[in-house]
């Protein structure tokens, strides 16, 4: 070591310590692509009261609003020949900017991304465009053209009430978005897009030197302090069925059912519940009891699944989406639209399946088959460097390895008793929050409150005797302590 470098080192030791950001780097030499996931520890749960949508709008202003040096139009021009982009989204607790680029274009791409994150343009015309887009998303798309998403967001916003930081759609509320100003966005960016809250993720065909360069380039962000305090309380257990009917013209009824659970990936029981959940309703597979019984045997609808974490992927996506970590979670069942006259039967069938799992548990054979499935299947969740990266970053949030590694380590040690105990402990709910998107809300309300049997009538032939016998049980499955609230669709997500 020469003298000069000794002096430099000494100087470094006395310099004020710049907080080093969290870095997750997963190199993959053979890959021609490089994936970035640049995450800030701030999300929609940090939206100030009355400004719901600020975190998401700030993310949009960065990803789709240009930098000081380049307008959004010029950014599009620059990204276009690379077929690259930057996609920013706020979830409850984190905001993540995701981009993939061919390594041919890595440095040029990175220069633009750094400009967007550190020196956003925040132009009034971009603000108007993106705020209108967010309001349209709530008032037109969610209310008027996607009943499945409408049902899912209704469940979330009812499960966590308005006083909870989790109680609104990530994109915001109509009133919240209308009250946000460009200055709010500037202030939110300055306070929250800091080195202290930065988690930098890089994966694919690049090296450590690149990661170091990117880290240094982001040092112009303010140092910042620890994350803002967040008072997220788990939602209270429901006593009976709390049903929200969103009334709108709809030939078929979309149904989402949920209840809070005291388990996240940070808890040992999560992994036992993952096996039980896979057995009950692994997303977009034909393995789950819900899918086999409701769709397969009865032809009720297109799909029926269950979840032990917040479920945000569109119906078409298969594997769990990463970068949506949360300190509290909920269990849910998703019943894709069923014909209107079969709404209550379908609700009862889903609850009947849940109750059967809680009461009877899984058999040894069912447990072994499901564990073996999940061990192999979860490896498919991380087929690309970008997905691997997202899961690894989530592991950091929960203080665990990525969920696939945790499953691989923990599942072989589980027993059927562990799983059934976890089910009894965590899934024995006294009631549920239920969201139904339906026409004729009054008729549905009366039927739900009456407790009357709702037998299914098939317009198909040859239903086997064992299915018909189950149908008789399902038709009278008790709907306990039903409370119904009807909301016209035009009022949804308003404030």
């Amino acid at each position: 070591m020469n003298l000069l470098s000794t002096i430099a080192l000494a100087a470094l030791a006395f310099a004020p310590a710049a907080p080093a950001p969290q870095v997750t780097f997963l190199p993959s030499e053979g890959s021609p692509l490089v994936s970035l996931r640049i995450q800030f520890n701030v999300g929609s749960a940090h939206d100030p009261a009355g400004k719901e949508g600020l975190a998401a709008l700030t993310a949009a202003m960065i990803a789709e609003g240009g930098s000081e040096e380049m307008s959004y139009g010029r950014i599009l021009d620059a990204f276009y020949p690379m077929a690259a982009g930057l996609y920013g989204g706020a979830r409850k607790e984190v905001t993540t900017f995701v981009g993939d680029v061919h390594r041919d274009n890595l440095d040029a791409y990175t220069a633009i991304v750094v400009g967007l994150l550190t020196k956003p343009r925040f132009a009034p015309e971009d603000f108007e465009r993106l705020r209108n887009e967010a309001i349209d998303e709530l008032t037109k798309t969610l209310r008027g053209s996607n009943d499945e998403e409408l049902g899912k967001w209704t469940l979330q916003t009812r499960l966590y009430d308005r006083t909870s930081p989790y109680g609104h759609v990530d994109r915001g509320t109509v009133a919240g978005l209308r009250s946000i100003t460009l200055d709010d966005v500037r202030a939110f960016h300055a306070a929250n897009y800091t080195r202290a809250r930065l988690h930098l993720g890089v994966a694919g065909g690049t090296d450590r030197a690149y990661v170091d360069r990117l880290t240094r380039a982001l040092e112009v962000l303010p140092a910042g302090g620890s994350a803002p305090t967040l008072d997220v309380k788990q939602a209270a257990p429901r006593d009976g069925l709390k049903v929200t009917i969103v009334e709108k013209p709809a030939e078929a009824s979309a149904i989402s059912i949920g209840a809070p659970i005291a388990v996240t990936r940070a808890d040992d029981d999560f992994y036992a519940l993952a096996v039980a959940n896979s057995y009950l309703g692994e997303h977009r597979t034909f393995n789950g009891k819900l899918m086999q019984d409701l769709r397969g045997k009865r032809g009720l609808n297109y799909g029926d699944y269950s979840y032990i974490e917040d479920f945000i992927q569109e119906g078409g996506g298969t594997f769990p989406i990463s970068n949506n970590p949360r300190r509290v979670q909920y269990f849910s069942i998703w019943i894709r639209p069923v014909p209107a006259d079969k709404t209550v039967f379908a609700l009862r069938a889903a609850l009947w399946e849940w109750k059967r799992l809680v009461d009877k548990g899984m058999t040894e054979a069912e447990f072994e088959a499901t564990r073996s499935f999940l061990l192999n299947y979860s490896k498919l969740w991380v087929q690309t460097p970008s997905r691997r990266l997202g899961y690894a970053m989530d592991g950091v949030f929960y203080g665990r390895d990525d969920v696939v590694t945790e499953l691989a380590r923990r599942l072989p040690k589980l027993t059927v008793a562990d799983v059934n105990n976890a089910v009894r402990k965590h899934l024995s709910f006294p009631g549920f929050e239920v969201a139904v998107v339906a026409k004729d809300a009054r008729g549905l309300e009366q039927l739900l409150r009456s407790g009357k049997p709702t037998p299914i009538t098939y317009d198909t032939e040859g239903t086997p005797a064992d299915v018909l016998a189950e149908d008789r049980e399902i038709a009278v499955f008790p709907l306990e302590r039903v409370d119904v609230r009807i909301i016209p669709v035009a009022e949804m997500f308003e404030k």
Binding site: L76, A78, A111, A369, Q383
Partner: protein, 453 residues
């Protein structure tokens, strides 16, 4: 502080990234192909996915092949029935076998293909061949199972029906086509979907007609050895018998006058204008097809002057995009616009018309064309990120061109484009008489309610 990247940024020529590596094929993987005596094509595409394979079976039959009246949607319905079991593996046993492998397994149908896919451990290759060969030759289901599945298909229709895009697509197809089977969407006319439980006998005809080895390709991408795959395929698919049929897909006659449809939506929605023009299939005129694909990008993509003025500056439009459909038979060139206000639609339409007219008379800037070519190449390259994605790309190429690497021909055609090619197709295909215009707006009753609030 000025970072390394901002120095690079300062020197970046906007609109011209380093040229995509233009010499290598865009689909760079080696495809090994063997055709069995019965006509079944077996392909291996080695890909760096240690321990994982994607196993695809492509049936070159989609909703395009539904020629009989009242039986639209059958290719897709049949996709569902393929999970209903055989003598050897009942539906439950088939599913249990897949579950034990930890498979990600499903299927999908489009106009031109029905595709069955599973991603499984490479060690499960023999089991995958056995399972798939069995169900493609020995499918067996009874009428009650058939009827229940028909209702799951109705459920699939129902899940999409709350979106205006299903209605827009149905209307565009039905208006733009009068004879060709692209007249209906893949899920089929709703009346036909509702009547599906009564079509059990026809389902046997459909299977017998199309599920034949000469109409199918097995693709295994990932950690696979071709010789091993071929041996397994011979053993399990070897006895599959060729079929024959004389089904003729009707040709679409030339459109001679503009067609129009106005649709109402019962809830507040942004107004949507959807335009379609008939264009040739890539198999019949690859050069024109490629030029139309580039034209869609250059004049209606996110870097086009029209997009920048309507979406970013004036903010009259929220969504603008165009597509030159890549189909086996002649498809459509479509433009979709979601506007903020229905009152702006006539002006937006006039500017689209002017853009197309100008595209015919004024050559596209050479740098812009270079950017389009670069974009198309990098976008395709970026899509090939897993064994599954590689097999999927080959499946679509087979559907359209019958060649698993057909995308290489298309991208060669993109690379050869000149500004004059774009002018030529702009002049050739965009006559009003070749156009179908579909407009969707909130029904007046709803608009009134909205404005009264």
């Amino acid at each position: 502080m000025r970072s390394v990247f901002s120095v690079i940024l300062a020197g970046l020529a906007i609109g011209l990234a380093p040229a995509a590596r233009g010499d290598a094929p865009v689909f760079p993987f080696r495809i090994e192909s063997t055709t069995l005596p019965n006509g079944l094509r077996v392909l291996s595409i080695p890909f760096d996915s240690p321990g994982i394979i994607a196993y695809y079976t492509v049936v070159r039959t989609g909703s395009r092949n539904e020629v009989e009246e009242g039986l639209t949607g059958f290719a897709h319905f049949f996709e569902h029935m393929m999970f209903r079991g055989t003598k050897r593996y009942s539906a439950e046993a088939y599913n249990a076998a897949l579950k034990s492998l930890g498979a990600d397994s499903n299927a999908f149908t489009s106009d031109d293909l029905t595709c069955y896919h599973m991603t499984v451990p490479a060690s499960a290759l023999a089991k995958a061949v056995e399972l798939e060969a069995d169900r493609f030759q020995n499918l067996e289901y009874d009428e009650p199972a058939f009827q229940k599945e028909a209702r799951a298909v109705l459920g699939e229709y129902n899940k999409s029906a709350s979106s205006p895009y299903l209605l827009l697509n149905e209307t565009m197809q039905e208006k733009a086509y009068t004879k060709h089977t692209y007249r209906h969407t893949t899920i089929g006319f709703l009346d036909d979907v509702k009547a599906m439980p009564t079509r059990y006998a026809y389902s046997k005809v459909f299977f017998d007609r199309w599920y034949r080895p000469e109409n199918c390709t097995v693709i295994v991408a990932g950690d696979v050895k071709h010789a091993e795959l071929v041996e397994l395929a011979k053993k399990h698919y070897g006895a599959w018998k060729r079929g024959s049929n004389d089904v003729v897909i009707p040709e679409e006659p030339e459109q001679t006058s503009e067609r129009e449809a106005k649709l109402g939506w019962p809830l507040p929605t942004l107004p949507i204008r959807y335009l379609g023009w008939h264009i040739p299939a890539s198999s019949r005129n690859l050069a024109d097809h490629a030029a139309l694909g580039a034209l869609a990008q250059a004049y209606f993509g996110a870097t086009s002057p029209l997009y920048k003025s309507l979406v970013i500056e004036e903010q009259k439009v929220v969504t603008l995009g165009a597509d030159a459909e890549s189909k086996r038979d002649p498809g459509l060139f479509t433009i979709l616009v979601r506007a903020r206000s229905a009152a702006d639609l006539p002006e937006i339409q006039a500017r689209i018309d002017r853009t197309l007219a100008d595209a015919a008379t004024t050559p596209l800037d050479a740098a812009k064309l270079a950017a389009v070519k670069s974009h198309l190449r990098y976008a395709f390259a970026a899509s090939l990120e897993s064994a599954d994605a590689v097999a999927l790309a080959a499946s679509y190429a087979i559907a359209v061109s019958d060649e698993p690497d057909g995308m290489n021909r298309l991208h060669e055609a993109y690379a050869a484009l000149t500004p004059a090619d774009l002018q030529r197709v702009a002049a050739k295909y965009f006559a009003k008489t070749n156009r179908t215009v579909v407009t969707l707006e909130t029904t007046p009753a709803q608009s009134d309610k909205e404005s009264n609030k």
